[in-house]
Every structure is written in C-alpha cells, then in structure tokens.
Symmetry: C2
Subunit: 204 residues, 2 copies
DNA sequence: ACCAATACGTACCGATCGGTAACATTGTCA
DNA sequence: TGACAATGTTACCGATCGGTACGTATTGGT
C-alpha cells in the first residue's frame, strides 16, 4: 500500500497553528480505527501516518486501549451533534425528529466506505466487559436507548419502551447492514420502516 | 485465566471414536471465535485448547483466515437449520414462520454470554472485501435478505422488498443490541416489533 | 509381520505486537 | 539568556503473531 504521510490538513494542521502531536494522533486514529477496525491497526501505523513518533503517543495516551477509548469519546460527541441537529430541526415533534435522523443515517449509509457506527463496531471487537473502549460504547448506547424511549413516549405510543426499543433495533440494523451490503442495502429503507412501525405503535 | 485443556466431549471426542485433530480444532475454534472474536484469538490458543499442535492445524487448514472461514461455513449451516426449523413449524404461513424464528432469537439473546450472530461479527472484524471470512458472511446475509423478501411477498406486503429489508434490520439490530445490552436489552422485543411492522405493511 | 500411508509432535522462524529508556532538539515566554 | 514544556531520535524490550522444516508414532491393508 502506498503511504503518503499525509495531505489532509485536519490531520497535519498545516494551516494556521500546527496541531499538537496528541491531536494529530487522535485525528489519524479516528480515521484508521473507524475504517479498518481498532484491532486491525497497530500503534506503529498510527504514529507513522500521523507523522509523529511512538513516545509522543504514549506521552498523551497511557495505552492503545485508552487511545481507542479517546477515539470513541470523540465519536460520541460527534454522534450527539448529528442527533441533536435532527432534533433541533423539528422542535416539539419527536416523530419528525426520529425520521429526520434516520433519513440522514440512510443517506450516509449509501456512501461507499461507510462503516456503520464506530461504537457498535468497537463493542463487537471488544466483548470483554471492562475494556475501556467498550465502556464508552455501552454508555452511548444506553443513553440512546433512554432518549428513544422518551421520544416514543412523547409521540404517544401505546408501549413507549417497546417502540423505543424497536427504533433502536432498526437503527443498529441499519448501521450493521450498511457495512454488510454496502450501497443498495436494507439500510436505505430504515426511515420508511420506522415510519410504518411508529404508525402501528401510536394510541387510538 | 485457568486453562483446563478440555472437558467437553464435543471438543475432545472422548466418547466413542476419538475425533480427528481437524474436528477438535474446528470445535474449539468455533467456540473461541464466537465468544471472543476471531482477531482476539491466536492460533496457539486454538491448538492448545484443542489439545493438538500447530502443524496439525496447518495440515487441515491453509491459514488462520481459512480456519475462520471454515468456522463460519459451519455457523452458516447451523443458522439455516435454526431458520428452517422455524419455517417447518408453520407450513404455508410465512408470517408465523418469521415470528417463530424471531421469538427464538429473542429468547437466545437473553442468555448471558450471547454474542449475536457470528457472521455479522466477523464482517465487522474484517471489512476488507476479499477476506475469506467476510465472503462467507456476505453470502449468508444475501441469502437471508432474499428469503425474507420472498416471505414478505408471500405474506402479501404492499412493498415486499421494503418489508423484507425492515425485518432484516430488526434481526441484525437484535443480534447487535443483544451483545451491547446483554439480557434485558431491546432484542427481547424484536418479535413484537416485527409483528407490528408486518401488520402495518400488509395490503388492504 | 510387514510396509506404506496417514496422523501427529518438537522445535524453530522472522515479523509484528504494545510499550519504554535515555537523550537530543526545538519553540516559547520571561 | 535562561528555563521549561513539548516533541523528536534511536534503540531497545519481552511477548505474541501466523506459519513451517523435519522427524516420529500410529494405523490399516495384505
């Protein structure tokens, strides 16, 4: 594989103030871990692509596992930005909020190279209950479940917990099937299916 | 971790004819790969737990990647056994067939130590398009999608492909959220949600 | 009883894994 | 100018990775 050290300024910071080593490392780790998986990427590859040296990595991160956890904490922030963006687009209308979020997931899932949710993937890679990366993932998913159930309640679902969980199943299914099938896969219809499920779950 | 070499006769074959090395290896690989992930398990651990030696492994399997593919081919067989069992339980009633399959998935997903679908997990671990393990997984999922769409059509869905894909999303979501949340997670309601989705997707 | 084929074990390979020790260099601010 | 923090340089560590060369048991057939 050809290895240009880097071109992307979000990695090198060649515009304005140069990025600190820790930031370059985290930018590269985010990219590589997401696209190829955490276990598949060694620390040597991270530091090489970041244009830094291994001691720099271990000055900023106590271990590779903690670097993975840091990557996921950042992923978590970006996730909630996307989620809250969809929420803010439809104030007071949880049904429209969910559907907006899902249609954006569906859209992104059709792009080649889409690898689903970085946190879901990390949980698959690390089944050990105490792994730092897994703990970040589990927290994110618990919060997502909580919010989906609350939104289902606000919609007036007969069984809010059941609908919230159903929506979570559809979302996780979309993440996974996107990387299983690539563009044209089942995740493109996640919003339409959610719409049907919501319609069938409301009172009266 | 304590490492008794093995007790399970399905691994050692201490009943009747002793198992061949290749069978012991595949039994152990199936267990370890499923529970801890393929990348997490080295060939040394496989042969040690199988009570054989490394050359025995490489006489029967050309590489670790091919051993992983063999594990998944066996998983594939067992998967269709379970699927066809649910189908056979409700002849001519695709709706009941799906629901039977899903309620069994839901039930298994509540057991501690459940790790979802071995093939879904393998696809997450190996994003490279040509990896032998991934190819087995993709074939399985394509066939599953085909069958779900056909069953949706047989149910009389307005849009059979859409319903079939929706069911696939729910199934994959159940597999993943089972290992994210453990017992008590959203996958316990996969059958009920599928029931609602089917009801909302039928004609007239 | 013998032999060939099959099945298996001992010992080892280079490469890579995550991680570190010791020291040199740079840029910044006072 | 001097002190300090951040980073780079080089070389290394033991452990584990996937994989193999080569010799030894064991087995079934005649």
């Amino acid at each position: 594989m050809t290895e240009d050290k880097n071109i992307d300024p979000s990695i090198s910071g060649q515009n304005e103030t140069p990025l600190r080593a820790a930031d370059k490392i985290l930018n590269v780790a985010r990219d590589l871990f997401y696209r190829q998986g955490i276990r598949a990427i060694g620390v040597d590859e991270v530091v090489r692509k970041a244009g830094v040296t291994k001691p720099s990595l271990y000055r900023s991160f106590p271990s590779k596992d903690e670097l993975a956890a840091s990557y996921l904490r950042r992923y978590d922030e970006e996730f909630w930005e996307r989620f809250d963006e969809a929420v803010a687009a439809h104030p007071g209308d949880p049904r429209a909020q969910i559907l907006a979020f899902l249609s954006r997931v569906a859209k992104r899932s059709q792009k080649p190279g889409y690898r689903g949710c970085g946190m879901t993937n990390a949980a698959v890679e690390y089944p050990e209950p105490e792994h730092p990366a897994r703990l970040v993932s589990e927290d994110n998913k618990k919060e997502l479940r909580r919010r989906l159930r609350a939104m289902a309640a606000a919609m007036g679902a007969r069984d809010a917990d059941e609908l919230g969980d159903g929506l979570l199943l559809l979302i996780e299914g979309a993440y996974i099937s996107a990387q299983l099938f690539g563009p044209g896969g089942p995740s493109q219809s996640v919003a339409k299916n959610a719409e049907l499920l919501i319609g069938a779950s409301l009172k009266g």
